[in-house]
Amino acid sequence: MKENIKNIFVEGAISPTKIATSIAHHQSKTNIGAHAIFLGQVRADQIEGKTVHAIDYSAQTEIANQVCHEIREAAFSKFDLSCMHIYHSLGTVKSGEVCFFVFVSSAHRKPVFESLTAIVNEIKAKVPVFGKEIFEDQSHQWKVNQ
């Protein structure tokens, strides 16, 4: 059952260097003509006079990875994609840092636009990840996705 289920989780923020390395790895795949990338960045939202300083992410990782695997397989069936990568942070990610990275590649641009939107929306809706917004005074509230 557990065929090739990748672990999407990384500890802490996703660095611009990691993103660059991921892009560079695709330069040997010369059938690719188009990449699309989505990055989720932690906002310093103001809530009742307090500012979000960081989000502490936790997850039910087994279910999360299984659901991402299913989202991935469905996207490969539906869209003409060469590659797809999904990463999400666990633990503390400060405001301004990247917590979510989705990367799709194809010969042409249409599949990357269509699949990127679909994959990001599905992950937000279906993957059991929980964000705890930490304010500067160390109080917190639980994040609610729009």
Partner: protein, 77 residues
């Protein structure tokens, strides 16, 4: 046989626990949900999904696994 029940996200604050063991016969996931809300009345305010053995399940399913996870609303990304 016992059930291992884990609480995620804000449900850890509501129950005051990360996990616990439960014994008893609950029948369906829905009955288990009702039991847990009786134990922790704060759960009534939060919409939560229940997974058994790492798969999200519906309330009409039979409890036949050993691992139960309570999952509050997802807020990844």
């Amino acid at each position: 046989m016992g059930l291992r029940v884990r609480y995620f996200g804000q449900l850890q604050e509501i129950t005051g626990k990360k996990e616990e063991s439960l014994t008893g016969v609950f029948g369906t996931i829905g009955n288990l949900r009702a039991h847990l809300i009786r134990c922790y009345p704060g759960l009534e305010k939060i919409h939560f999904k229940i997974a058994q053995d790492n798969t999200i399940d519906i309330d009409s399913s039979e409890v036949n696994g050993t691992l139960i996870d309570l999952l509050p609303p997802f807020s990844g990304g």
